[in-house]
């Protein structure tokens, strides 16, 4: 099942979705030896790192759906400096390549993050989370082909490491953004991020989540993810990391059939900490 992906050679096509598996926490909960021995993913994608430390959104941060959930976690992280000092040393001991997911609220922030990680041997690739507004233009970078093109073009000059652009599904024309990313030098795209969603306090008109709205993930979005992967695959030739509602090898197989090279497991890891391993085993049993 070995897969070549943007210069990396991975043992199999199943990785984790950013922000849905914390290898450092999992080592505390399950023991490092057990975790490393049966690490579910062929590469590990970190939770989004921002330039400054972030506490994340105020709770509640979770809402459960019949086939998924809404989260408004709000990208808590130690910030670049804290990540380099505290997280990176530990994550560099992982048995698989490390992909660092980064987000900036302005192009300069993105640039600082990419430069810093570009200089670290422990980092195999960089994923750009562009589901956020560029505070300078007010536009969501991942929803606007031009914004995306300008950003990726600039970051491309800063690193030789594989750059993966993580697309947001909350866009009118996702393939156009993917094409812009490819033309600007991205080595791969990943999709989908969460769909904007909302929940209300039971029996009341107030938003439930601390951040009011949040992102929908899980099986509820799988058919939407499949359509977007399929549409993007028809328009770009760089590899695709497909994700969105994968709970079984069959779902992973669908995303691969639709044109993905790797598949990321997100929300399903919450239900089954070894979901990555199960998905890979089921996928193998399907002969894929």
């Amino acid at each position: 099942m070995t897969v070549r992906f943007g210069g990396l050679e991975l043992a199999h096509p199943i990785i984790n979705a950013s922000g849905t598996f914390d290898a450092i926490a999992a080592a505390r909960a399950f023991g490092r030896a057990a975790l490393y021995e049966r690490f579910p993913f062929s590469a590990f994608v970190s939770k989004t790192v921002t330039l400054a430390h972030r506490e994340g959104n105020s709770p509640p941060r979770l809402w459960e759906l019949g086939e998924g959930m809404i989260n408004s976690i709000g990208l808590p992280n130690r910030g670049l400096a804290g990540y380099l000092e505290r997280d990176l040393p530990e994550l560099s001991t992982l048995p698989v390549p490390l992909i660092v997911n980064v987000m900036g609220f302005a192009p300069d922030e993105f640039a600082a993050l990419v430069e810093a990680f570009s200089a670290r041997r422990e980092v195999a690739a960089i994923e750009l989370n562009v589901s956020c507004p560029n505070v300078e233009s007010g536009l969501i970078v991942g929803a606007d082909p031009r914004e995306c093109s300008v950003l990726v073009g600039r970051l491309r000059t800063l690193t030789a490491k594989p750059l993966i652009v993580k697309l947001t599904p909350n866009a009118a024309d996702v393939p156009a953004v993917a094409q812009a990313a490819e033309a600007a030098g991205a080595d791969a795209v990943s999709l989908v991020n969460t769909l904007r969603g909302m929940a209300l306090r039971p029996g009341c008109a107030e938003p439930w989540l601390g951040a009011k709205t949040g992102g929908v993930s899980g099986p509820a979005i799988h058919a939407i993810a499949l359509a977007q992967v399929h549409e993007v695959a028809a328009r770009v030739s760089i590899p695709i990391v497909g994700m969105g509602g994968v709970r079984s090898g069959r779902d992973a197989h669908r995303l691969l059939s639709a044109g993905a090279t790797l598949v990321a497991v997100g929300t399903e890891s919450f239900r089954d900490p070894q979901a990555g391993t199960r998905v890979r085993t089921e996928l193998a049993a399907l002969g894929a």
Binding site: R28, L62, S269, D272, Q274
Partner: protein, 274 residues
């Protein structure tokens, strides 16, 4: 906030199937006994994530989807049996409470950090509110095994809920009910204030609704007593993966499932238990 070996048993990596051995009502609650063959010995205050193997969907709004956090109430090392106590509040607890002997559940755990024992000269005072009794049953049992003599204060809505107090066996305890249908009428934190007044040095261990925990925190802070609070938070994963279960502490948000559920009352931020 790192947890010593005595407070965390690591969980086997992944979820595993466990079989319901027996289930019965105790007052308004339901006891579920699982056979967790080969499972590790948990520490009082730790919890498990559970979901039914079959039919974990289709309740109100199509839920449940995610597993549910439950403190373990008792563990029998001889038989690898785990006992849980359930209060039905929604589709997840409803489905779990429906399970009969022979049916199976997915189990991950034990998870989180349990209680820390007080120094020898300090009397442990256990304060439970409603379903918050659960981790205290385990903790009480462990303290007694270690020849400690904890005080027990339990508050319930009414006698039907207070029936759960019998899960603590013959232990001496103070019971309060909101409606006075059993024990003293009133809230358990009032009983706590009275008890502490008559007590020498005490360390308080509390689990229950947020308002109760906040009151415990206030009382202990005023009296300069250590208190450990077993918190609840909505959880998606239970093993630190989602950052969904945070509580506000003096050091910022902390994950209840990873850094808790047991926290020193002193680190909890003001207003976090609102």
């Amino acid at each position: 906030m790192s947890a010593g070996d005595t407070r965390r048993t690591e969980a086997p990596f992944g979820r595993r199937l466990a079989t319901v051995d027996a289930a019965r009502e105790v007052g308004s609650y339901r006891v579920m006994r699982l056979s967790d063959r080969g499972g590790p010995i948990p520490r009082p205050g730790q919890f498990y994530m559970l979901s039914a193997h079959d039919g974990w969907a289709g309740g109100s709004d199509g839920r449940p989807f995610l597993p549910r956090a439950l403190s373990y109430m008792r563990h029998r090392p001889e038989t690898d049996e785990l006992e849980f106590l359930l209060e039905v509040v929604g589709p997840g607890t409803a489905r779990l409470a429906e399970l009969r002997a022979g049916e199976r559940v997915w189990l991950t755990g034990p998870l989180g950090v349990g209680f820390e024992a007080p120094a020898d000269e300090i009397t442990p005072v256990l304060v439970g509110g409603g379903i918050g009794i659960v981790p205290l049953v385990a903790w009480h049992q462990q303290l007694r095994l270690n020849d400690r003599d904890p005080a027990l204060l339990l508050g319930f809505r009414d006698a039907s809920h207070a029936a759960a107090a019998r899960l603590l066996g013959e232990a001496e305890m103070t019971i309060t009910t909101d409606d006075g249908s059993l024990g003293d009428q009133g809230i358990v934190t009032a009983a706590l204030a009275r008890a502490l007044a008559q007590q020498g040095r005490a360390a308080v261990y509390a689990c229950g609704p947020p308002a109760m925990l906040d009151a415990v925190r206030g009382i202990c802070a005023r009296q300069g007593l250590d208190a450990q609070l077993a918190l609840e938070a909505p959880m998606a994963c239970g093993f630190g993966a989602c950052f969904g279960c945070v509580v506000s502490t003096v050091a910022g948000y902390r994950r209840v499932c990873l850094d808790g559920p047991v926290f020193d009352a002193a680190v909890i931020a003001d207003g976090a238990l609102a």
